[in-house]
Amino acid sequence: MSNAVKENTILKDLLTYQTHLNGQSSLLEKIRKESAEKVKNTPFPTTRDEDWRFTNLKPLTRGGDFVPDQEESSEYDPSELEEYFIPESENTRLVFINGRFSTEYSSIDDLPEGTLIGNLAEFAAEDNKIVEEHLNQYAEYEEDIFTYFNGAFLDDGSMVYIPQDTKVESPIHILNFYTNSDQDFFTNPRTLVVADKFSKSTVIEEHIGLSDNRYLTVPVVELKLFEGANVKHLRIQRDSRQAIHISRPVAHVAQHSKYESYTITLGARLSRNDPKIVATDEEVDFTVDGLVLIDGDQIADTHSVMDHRQAHATSHQLHKCVINGEAHSVFNGKIFVRQGAQKIDSFQENRNLLLSRDGHVNTKPQLEIFADDVVCTHGATIGSFEDEELFYLKSRGLSGEKARELITYGFALETIENIEVDSIHQLLLKEVERYSKSHRDEPEAKPVA
């Protein structure tokens, strides 16, 4: 059956801006060309696609054209940026402003021998072997135009390499700033993290909108964990309330490695996050937790994949969302256990606290298991404040508002209590507190879940 609806060509049209990029690396040039071809040949998703059923891309497709990131037109006060720096990462800080690497604000020093942290484009221009071997090898999202779109504009980005048996004590803080601008712009941040055997490191990936303007950011993050490597990955999305944020973080984890990711979603008009963890060997351990705090007209969609390809893995996903106003949260969590991947212990739970009558939740935990000796638990809950819980706190003298604030705070807290970087932990506590305090009014009516 032919479909008369015309495909949206926004991303395909933006390919004309590819000429703006420099050509210093033949590797990047090759990836850009191949990716551009794929963008041309991949349909733009609509709500008729299963993976986009609940998330309408209108905030992206309607509301004016995008131009490439232009530093000249961006407006910001340098001291604004510094507010977001953390003392733990004084010498392990990468700063990007509207997608452009900033030598001025980045600070890399005192690294353990062999450790590489810096601008991906620069390493690629020097024909760095690690970049050549690993870049664009892991971000496999079938028929996903956004991943290809990112590849078509591959240029500045973050590159992190931790050598074998090395521990980088300081967390590596990657700050992606988005500034106010005359025109809506688009950026395609790319991050490559290669953690060699038995290394240990923490990567903080932050997206910060400095104003309330509209922009499109499509971050792709590739992590490769070799045998016995340990990587903690904190992702904090504090984009502008008009931004469109579509991210694809993917981790390939080898034997005895441990990957923990915590994604905190606070900003953006529309955010879509598709974390994907692939256990390529036996005996791996990974966590992909998330916390979403949204209100107003925000949409936050998480589509995750936990792909157990080999036996003896442990995995954990706790995804919590608090929804107020007319905000809309979507969760789709797929757990794959491939044939022969026995002795998998996988936990998945999506819990939603709905604070308002007009908030909206779609949730779908999904198991696809092709092995018979596995323990997989999964579940989803949607709820409002429970009368008994409110009464308990009120009977202790707390007002209804205070009781709702405390319950919201407590609900959100669980997902951030394992975050060990003190500045980030404190920051998130404040964010949770601020959110809880600003949404403690009684809902107009009891929402129907």
């Binding site: 819980e389 009120k394 319950i407």
Partner: protein
């Protein structure tokens, strides 16, 4: 202190009448025990006094220190010194015991015109209260009742009572499910929290807590009313003979 007159209450959602005319007077300095079989309404009575939204009062009045209690929200009742130890204490994940209690203590102190305590002062203040119920300080930093054993939850209720220092306390089956040691601890806590200007109401299934706490009056509830009131001997008689004799007596009186 508390005067309950002809109190009728229904389950708000379905209209099923649970309290069918309760009369009860409690004076300062007294300890009362309310006993009765399952479903007699004794738990409902304590919830209605605390202001539980699941119940609707359809008739009668509850006067506390000269004031109509039924006009007040549950938190306002707490500000006036009313406390309910829950039969099933609620878990509040992510909120520590110490945070809830400091918040509660300071809110009540402010409403009563007393001085609020800062975190350090509060720490000192709760230390002695912990000893009263034999609780470890670690429990302060754990989420309210989350992962607590049954006994820990009950002790935590008495601990909260000790910290908030209420004037009128209803303890809803706080003794149920406790082993002998925990029962003694809870009973000691109750005894040390009783006082001349306070009153305590024990809602219980069993007389065994009355071996450690000496009540001024024992009431038996049946079918939504106080069927009989007496002294401690009434509790012992119930323990030995059950409720059958009393049910018959009530039926005879009704005829």
């Amino acid at each position: 202190m508390l005067e309950i007159k002809n109190l009728h209450a229904v389950v708000a959602e379905e209209g099923n009448e649970i309290l069918k005319g309760v009369d009860l007077t409690i004076n300062k300095g007294e300890i009362h025990a309310i006993m009765g079989p399952n479903g007699s309404g004794k738990s409902t009575l304590s919830k209605v006094v605390a202001g539980h939204p699941a119940y609707e009062v359809t008739e009668g009045e509850v006067i506390y220190e000269g004031e109509d209690l039924l006009e007040l929200e549950p938190d306002e009742r707490a500000h006036k010194g009313i406390f309910l130890a829950f039969q099933y204490p609620v878990e509040v994940p992510g909120v520590t015991n110490s945070r809830l209690l400091r918040e509660a203590y300071n809110t009540i102190a402010k409403e009563q015109g007393r001085e609020e305590l800062d975190p350090l002062q509060f720490e000192d203040y709760v230390k002695e209260k912990l000893e009263l119920v034999n609780m470890k300080p670690e429990l302060l930093e754990r989420s309210v009742n989350a992962g607590f054993s049954g006994g820990e939850k009950k002790r935590n209720e008495i601990f909260q009572m000790a910290v908030l220092n209420p004037r009128l306390s209803f303890l809803d089956e706080t003794d149920s499910g406790l082993d002998i040691d925990a029962l003694k601890t809870v009973a000691n806590g109750i005894n040390s929290l009783a006082g001349e200007d306070k009153a305590i109401v024990l809602v219980t299934h069993y007389q065994r807590i009355l071996e450690y706490v000496d009540p001024d009056a024992v009431h038996v509830m049946m079918d939504g009313k106080i069927a009989k009131s007496g002294d401690k001997q009434l509790a012992f008689k119930l323990e030995e003979e059950g409720y059958d004799w009393l049910e018959k007596e009530v039926q005879v009186n009704a005829q």
